[in-house]
Amino acid sequence: MANCIKNWEKEQARAFVGVGLKSEHYNEILRDKPSLDFFEVHAENYMGAGGSPHAYLEAITESYPLSLHGVGLSIGGAGKLDRAHLQRLKMVHDRYQPVLFSEHLAWSTHEGTFFNDLLPLPYTSETLRRVCEHIDEVQQTLGRQMLLENPSTYIVFEQSTISETEFLSQVAQATGCGLLLDVNNVFVSCTNIGCTPEGYLHAFPHEHVGEMHLGGHAEDQDEFGSDFLIDAHDREVSDPVWSLYKLAISLTKGAPTLIEWDNDVPEFTRLYSEAEAARSYLQAFHRQRGNRHVA
C-alpha cells in the first residue's frame, strides 16, 4: 500500500484510470489483477466492524491504491455535520489511507433523517459559508485535503445568487480543498438547466481538479415535453460525455479518472472496457503534451 501511494504521487503525469469497486467483482479482480491504477469505494459500504467487506478490501488494497468516496456527510446541509458519522469515516480513512478522499456538494440529511440521495442546494453567500465550515471540519478531522464533487441537478433555485462554478471556486479558495470534476454531471446539469457544458467546463476552476468521474445517464421527458437527463450510473458513458471529457482532460491536464457504474452492475469486462476507453483519451493527451515539450 505504501509503495502504491509513493508511485501515485510520483507519476501524476501519466494516465491514471480506475473503476468503482463492486462486491460482484471482488473475486475476479483478485484472480485476474486487471491493469487499473486505482479502485474507488463508497466509504459507507466499509463502516462495519469486520467481515467480508473488509477482508476483500484489505486484499485488493494490497495491490491497488484506493480512492475513498463519501456519499453521506451532507456537506451542503443546513444543520451541523453528524459527528458520529464523521468519526466512522475517519476510522475507514485511517485504516486504508486512501490516495484520494472525495465528497459531494450536496446534502442528504435534514433534522436527523437520512434521505439517501444527493440533494441540491441554492448557491448564496450563506450556503457558501456553511459549506466552507463543513469542509474545514472534515479536513481537520481527517487531517488531509478532500475533493468536492460538482453535483448533477434537475432543478434550479430562484434563491441562488452565485453560479455553481463560482461557488466551487470560492469554496476551493477558502478551504484549500480540491475538486472532483464529474463530467457526466456537467453534461446532465447543463442539459437540464439549459446552459452549454463547454461553457461550464471553461468556467470551472480546473486548476483545483484532483480527479474526474465518468458515468452513464438516462433520458426522460418532463410534463412540458422537454427532454431531461437523470444521473443513473447504470450504463456506458454516452458519446457527448466522451467528447466533453476530451475538453476536460486538456483543461485539467489529465486528472486521474474513474468510471462509476453503481446500478445494474455489469460484467467486469464491460466496466473495464470503459476504463480502457478513458485511458486511451488520457494517453493521447499525455503523448501530445510530451511531444510539445520535446519540440
Partner: protein
C-alpha cells in the same frame, strides 16, 4: 480563511437555508405536497416531474436498501407487496444515518404489528433471522477458542472455565420455527446445522414452518455466517455463558431451566460447540 460576515444577517440566512431544506425534505417524503417555493425548472416554471426525480430516488433507493437487508421477507410477500410495505415503514421510520446495512432494525416488529399481515405471523421470525444474519456478517473479526490446540494450556478442567461468545455470535429466540422458509428464500448461501443439548430422533431435521418457539444461533467462522438450530437447553447454555457462568455451571443451569426433549447428549453438543468457532476463553 472564510469571508467575514454580519452574524445577525448570517443567522437569519442560515435559518432561511434550514427552512428551505425542511420544505424540500417534507416534499420528498410526501408526494401530495407542492414543489417547494423557489425550486424551478427555469425562471418561473415549476416542474413537478423534475422534483419527482428526487422523490423517486429517495423512496426507490431506500426500498432497495431495505430489500437488500430483508431478501427472504421480500420473496415471501412478493415484490409489489414488499414495495408497498417498505414505503409505509420508510415513511414512519426513515433512516437516521447513512450506513444502510444498519437500517431496518425495527422491521420485524413492524411486520408483527402490520394489520395486513395478521395471517402471516411467522414473517416476524424470518425478519429476526435476516437482521441477525446481517449483524453477524458485519461484526468484528474474532478468533474462537481452539479446543484441539489450547486444551492443555487451560490449567484447570475445561468445565471450570468461563467462555464468552465470539463477536459474530447472535442468539435469537423466535415464535416460529422458520428454518426452511428462511434458508430457501434468503439471498445468502447459508450453511445450517442442528445443535441440540437434548437430542431425539424427531429433532434430526429442521422445520420448514411451524409454531415455535425456535432457538437459533448465527456465528461467522470466517466470512459467511452459519446458522445453528438449538434446543431451549442449548440456547439457555449460551445465555448462562454470557452471564459469566463456568461451562459446568452453565450446563446445570441450562438443564434446570429448560424442558428436556429427548436424551441428554452433552458430549456431542460440546464437541460441536468447540468446533463451530462460537466461544472464546474468558476466565
Amino acid at each position: 480563511m472564510l469571508p467575514s460576515v454580519d452574524m445577525k444577517k448570517a443567522n437569519n440566512s442560515i435559518q432561511a437555508h434550514n427552512e428551505l431544506q425542511k420544505a424540500f425534505s417534507l416534499g420528498l417524503i410526501d408526494s401530495r405536497r407542492e414543489v417547494p417555493t423557489g425550486i424551478v425548472k427555469s425562471r418561473g416554471i415549476i416542474s413537478k416531474k423534475r422534483f419527482d426525480v428526487y422523490r423517486n430516488n429517495v423512496m426507490a433507493s431506500l426500498i432497495e436498501a431495505l430489500a437488500a437487508n430483508y431478501p427472504a421477507v421480500q420473496k415471501l410477500v412478493g415484490d409489489d407487496y414488499f414495495k408497498a410495505l417498505a414505503s409505509i415503514y420508510i415513511y414512519s421510520q426513515p433512516p437516521s444515518q447513512p450506513v444502510l446495512y444498519e437500517y431496518g432494525e425495527s422491521f420485524a416488529q413492524f411486520l408483527a404489528s402490520f394489520p395486513g399481515l395478521v395471517d402471516f405471523p411467522y414473517l416476524e421470525s424470518v425478519a429476526k433471522l435476516e437482521w441477525s444474519w446481517l449483524s453477524s456478517f458485519h461484526s468484528a473479526d474474532d478468533r474462537s477458542f481452539d479446543f484441539s490446540n489450547e486444551e492443555n494450556r487451560l490449567g484447570k478442567p475445561i468445565g471450570d472455565c468461563q467462555f464468552r461468545p465470539t463477536k459474530s455470535v447472535r442468539l435469537i429466540c423466535c415464535d416460529y420455527d422458520v428454518t426452511g422458509a428462511y434458508i430457501r428464500n434468503t439471498s445468502a448461501n447459508i450453511n445450517c446445522e442442528i445443535m441440540r443439548l437434548y437430542s431425539s430422533k424427531k429433532d434430526e431435521h429442521y422445520q420448514d414452518l411451524a409454531v415455535g418457539p425456535a432457538y437459533y444461533l448465527f456465528v461467522r467462522p470466517d466470512l459467511s455466517p452459519e446458522l445453528y438450530c438449538l434446543d431451549m437447553a442449548g440456547f439457555e447454555l449460551f445465555n448462562e455463558l454470557v452471564r459469566g457462568k463456568s461451562l459446568n455451571e452453565a450446563l446445570v443451569k441450562a438443564a434446570s431451566k429448560s424442558t428436556p426433549n429427548g436424551e441428554l447428549d452433552a458430549q456431542e453438543f460440546l464437541e460441536k460447540l468447540f468446533s463451530s468457532n462460537t466461544l472464546v476463553l474468558s476466565g
